[in-house]
């Protein structure tokens, strides 16, 4: 029997100890009228060899196309050591460190992670993770409403330069608690938040302003001015950031005069594979004054009976298993194993490595934009500084072009037709340090022949 160790003799002994004639007797409290029959739609069991062959076939069917999409998930080099350690059973098959003394490895790692991500974002404290970047924005909006005691409007200003799926997820998760989301348009030339649109909210009760940097288009926002505007108007600031970019970009803790109040983002670029969309990591950091409003697990360093340092889950009075209906969030299981990957990744690349990854990604995107905009019918849409993504337009609908590129093994970008129809035949492209000049030339040549 796969994964069940019992011999016939074991079963006989155990049934005798319990005092029942057979295993089925153990289910005698389930009303017989409810018992189900054979699960006809479940296929017969496969051996490891056979399921291995099946999965190899499925994988081969998908292949490994050359990828030029970012849009919230980025293909970076992952050092071999990362997943070789993450896959160790002591990390892989442990659970939430409720028994601190038997979980010091996980707990110390989480403390190291909290230190790294807090420093990277320029904030004082971090939690041990949320599900992903999108749901982290929803949690940040809810947290801002709790933290901002003087604001009663529960009004969150969300720019259209924030990842459109993050906006959808935030509405789906936080919308049930009567938050009001107001949209801020972008300037057509720069692809950044239209600061004049903020005038409408001057003197009004605004709970928080969300700023994504770099924004969904890859463009860099004027974060200092936006942060100062929000604080001057009594609003908190929620920053949504790409962790790789923070090796080069000013951390949210230093935006404007005072720095932002809550930082969230998608931690996937830090050692987590694209993997078809997950599992990823939502990260969250904040100021110490808001720590009790933060959702999720938090690890603290303390002392044991002998006065020796050790680590434990702390501030649990915020959480669902203690506070129940008054908890800061219902989150319980989060993304521990991915945090393990991110912590090992950040340790391997260090401050200089992360800077080089960020700079190389920016350089490859520059090279990609230069190569693609040489193709007739392709042009860049926005001016101004950007990080490692860019919006291009084509002289024809994007969908069929992407499908034709896919046939040639090239994943050419993310169509903006659904979320930004006003941009016409627009495409969001990305190149990280994992793309080289040959890859870029191959894409440019394929596109040129398709558009000719």
């Amino acid at each position: 029997m796969p994964f069940i160790p019992h011999t016939d003799a074991d079963v006989r002994d155990m049934l005798a100890t319990i005092g029942v004639p057979n295993i089925d007797a153990l289910f005698d409290e389930i009303p017989s009228s409810l018992r189900c029959g054979v699960l006809a739609c479940i296929p017969e069991a496969l051996t490891e060899m056979d399921v291995g062959r099946l999965m190899q076939e499925r994988a081969a069917q998908d292949g490994r196309p050359l990828n030029f999409i970012g849009a919230g998930a980025y293909e970076h080099h992952i050092p071999a050591a990362v997943w070789s350690i993450v896959s160790r059973g002591e990390f892989y098959s442990a659970y939430t460190p409720y028994q601190a003394e038997a979980s010091q490895g996980t707990l110390q790692l989480l403390y190291e992670y909290q230190t790294m991500i807090a420093s990277l974002t320029g904030m004082q404290v971090a939690n041990a993770s949320l599900y992903d970047g999108a749901s982290a924005v929803a949690e940040a909006a809810l947290m801002a409403v709790r933290a901002h005691r003087r604001s009663t409007s529960a009004r969150i200003l969300m720019p259209t330069t924030l990842n459109p799926v993050y906006r959808q997820v935030t509405r789906a998760i936080a919308g049930n608690q009567s938050l009001n989301f107001e949209m801020l348009p972008y300037v057509p030339g720069s692809g950044t938040i239209d600061a004049t649109a903020l005038d409408k909210w001057k003197g009004q009760d605004v709970t928080a302003l969300v700023i994504q940097q770099p924004n969904f288009f890859g463009q860099l926002e004027d974060v200092d001015a936006l942060t100062d505007w929000a604080h001057a108007n009594g609003a908190l600031v929620i920053a949504v950031v790409n962790p790789t970019s923070l090796a080069l970009l000013k951390p949210p803790g230093e935006w404007g005069q005072k720095g932002v109040d809550i930082v969230v983002g998608e931690g996937q670029p830090l050692g987590v594979p694209l993997a078809g969309g997950g599992p990823y990591i939502g990260f969250m950091t904040t100021r110490m004054e808001h720590v009790r409003q933060m959702p999720g697990r938090i690890v603290g360093r303390t002392l044991d009976l002998d006065g020796k340092p050790g680590f434990t889950l702390t501030l649990q009075a915020r959480e669902q298993h203690i506070r129940r209906s008054k908890a800061t969030s219902n989150i319980c299981t989060n993304q521990g194993l991915l945090v393990t990957a991110a912590t090992i990744y950040l340790s391997l690349v260090g401050p200089e490595g992360l800077e080089r990854v960020a700079a190389a990604s920016q350089a490859r995107t520059r090279e990609l934009v230069a190569a693609l905009t040489k193709v007739r019918g392709v042009r860049a849409v926005f001016n101004g500084p950007r990080f490692h993504e860019a919006v291009l337009t084509l002289d024809r609908p994007v969908g069929p072009v992407l499908e034709a590129l896919a046939v040639q093994g090239i994943v050419g970008g993310y169509s903006l037709a659904e979320h930004y129809p006003e941009l016409g035949n627009a495409l969001l492209v990305c190149a990280t340090e994992t793309r080289n000049s040959n890859d870029i030339a191959r894409y440019a040549a394929a596109l040129a022949s398709l558009l000719s």
Binding site: F3, I4, P5, P31, L34, I42, A45, V51, R58, Q61, D62, R64, N67, I69, I85, R88, G89, Y92, S93, Q99, E101, A102, Q104, T115, M116, S119, Y131, D132, S135, V165, Y166, V169, N176, L220, D224, L248, K250, E266, G278, R301, T302, D306, G310, F311, T314, R324, S325, N330, C332, T333, N334, G336, T340, S347, E355, A363, P385, E403, V407, Y414
Partner: protein
């Protein structure tokens, strides 16, 4: 055993340069540029490998220890599920790559949906929730959307038994609902009279786990379903304990309208030191239009994602892409290896192990919380008597078990049973492992009489002694700070 912080291994200028791309000039305006480097360690690759390997060795895990944590289903995570989910084609797939280049992955996910439909008896499945609590959120949000779609706006109350997981009431709050708690009877069943008193025109639904968190099957579930449905409410099934009934009874047949499954419990995807999980949801006919998106559908002989265009009444998206795809793949591989008879064996042997362990512990002088009931896949021991007579607590027992090489059961949950241990052995443990656990419990009980201080001050053999939680919460130390130069 003690391992320094990774920051304490750091030396300025030390690098792991094999992991670096070449240096290049960045093009960032001065005003937007970072001025001071972040506090990341500067260490060699060997130092990283050694540090995190040593940290791993400070953990208990399924792979190293019996881990009978009640309500968590800490069963063996087959290695093949990890190895095959990490084939390079799956790992390198961008979630927005065209569907035509993802038919292999989508096919696996579609078949997973179909298998989950079969084992739950529901009508539709969405795989997108990223953990049990998000599955709960999806479920309650769907119930709310259903009532609202009918103009039944007054239905904002969610009924929750007092034994429920904390996530249940927390979820109800997140969905903008009000929580109404009902008590359990001394035999562990729901108090039906109390239920009848609280249902009414404000009832949105009830959230139940069956078997309940008390480790017993709710025998009058059909009656409960009738009462809630007659009052116009819906039934939510918390799938935390699905391992107990897999292939024996299906939530859909019990009358539930919506369920979430913890794939990291029942379908053996790794717990990962606190995730990732997966909280796939299943729905009955009435909630089909409200499922969270995306869902895998078919068009001709191709698989594709169903989105808001296909499900305009959906409660929406809960994740940036499509949920924890890699976790879903592991669950799919596990289910294919179990196959039809294997699926039923899970609940049979999980229940056999729990009842055997309960019988042996009772014989050894421990008190079951529900003496006359059959254990499901887990059961509760109460140490109330030992606490009164010997002055040792459930926590003392739990900590001392660590010294004997066993991860502690869940302690002090459910909250209504005093000094309790919630014990879930799972089907993948051998009889001799269970016997070893009983031997340890007997030895600890003897120590509780002869040398109770040994329990109060446990653990004695772990990397740290008992930790000061009060200090941790009062003198917050949440990040490391370098010593002032």
């Amino acid at each position: 055993m003690h391992e320094k912080l990774i920051f304490e291994h750091s030396r300025t200028g030390r690098t792991a340069t094999a992991q670096f791309p070449a240096a290049e000039a960045a093009d960032i305006p001065a005003g937007l540029r970072r001025k001071q480097r972040p506090l990341l360690p500067e260490v060699s690759e060997l130092q990283v490998v050694r540090h995190f390997t040593r940290l791993s060795q400070l953990n208990f895990s399924i792979d190293t220890h019996f881990y009978p944590l009640g309500s968590c289903t800490m069963k063996y995570n087959p290695r093949a599920c990890n190895a095959l989910a990490m084939l390079p084609e799956f790992l390198s797939r961008h979630p927005y790559a065209p569907e035509a280049t993802g038919q292999g992955l989508l096919g696996c996910l579609y078949e997973l949906q179909e298998m989950l439909l079969e084992v739950t008896g529901m009508q539709g499945v969405s795989l997108t929730p990223m953990a049990g609590a998000q599955g709960e959120f999806a479920g309650v949000a769907m119930m709310r959307a259903y009532h609202q779609s009918r103009g039944d706006l007054a239905r904002v109350e969610i009924i929750v038994p007092d034994a429920a997981h904390g996530t249940n009431p927390a979820t109800a709050t997140m969905c903008g609902c009000k929580v109404v708690e009902i008590p359990s009877l001394p035999n562990g069943d729901i108090d039906i009279d109390a239920l009848k008193r609280v249902v009414g025109p404000a009832t949105a639904g009830i959230m139940l786990t069956n078997p309940s968190t008390l480790g017993v099957f709710e025998r009058r579930i059909a009656e409960v379903a009738g009462i809630v449905h007659d009052a116009g409410g819906l039934l939510y099934y918390d799938g935390a304990n699905l391992n107990a009934i897999l292939g024996k009874v299906r939530p859909g047949d019990m009358g539930f309208d919506v369920i979430h499954m913890n794939l990291h419990k029942t379908f053996s995807t790794p717990h990962g030191g606190g995730g990732p999980g997966s909280g796939a949801v299943g729905v009955g006919k009435r909630l089909l239009p409200f499922m969270p998106i995306p869902v895998v559908g078919t068009q001709g002989n191709q698989y594709r994602w169903l989105t808001e265009k296909d499900l305009p009444q959906s409660i929406g998206r809960l994740s940036g892409f499509m949920g924890n795809a890699g976790v879903l793949l592991r669950a799919y591989i596990y289910m294919r290896m179990l196959g039809r008879p294997g699926m039923q064996r899970v609940s049979e042997y999980a229940t056999l192990n729990a009842n055997y362990l309960l019988a042996r512990l009772k014989a050894a002088g421990f008190d079951a919380a529900y003496t006359d009931r059959r254990a499901s896949h887990e059961f509760i021991i109460t140490l109330k008597r030992q606490s009164r007579e010997l002055g040792v607590s459930a926590m003392d027992f739990a900590k001392r078990l660590l010294d004997y090489g066993f991860h502690a059961p869940t302690t002090y949950f459910p909250l209504l049973v005093p000094e309790c241990l919630l014990i879930e052995p799972t089907e993948t443990e051998a009889k001799e492992e269970l016997d070893g656990f009983v031997d340890a419990m007997i030895a600890i009980l003897a120590e509780a009489s002869s040398d109770p201080d040994k329990l109060h001050s446990a653990p004695h053999t772990l990397p740290v002694r008992r930790l000061d939680d009060v200090r941790a919460a009062k003198q917050l130390d949440l990040t490391w700070k370098p010593a002032q130069a």
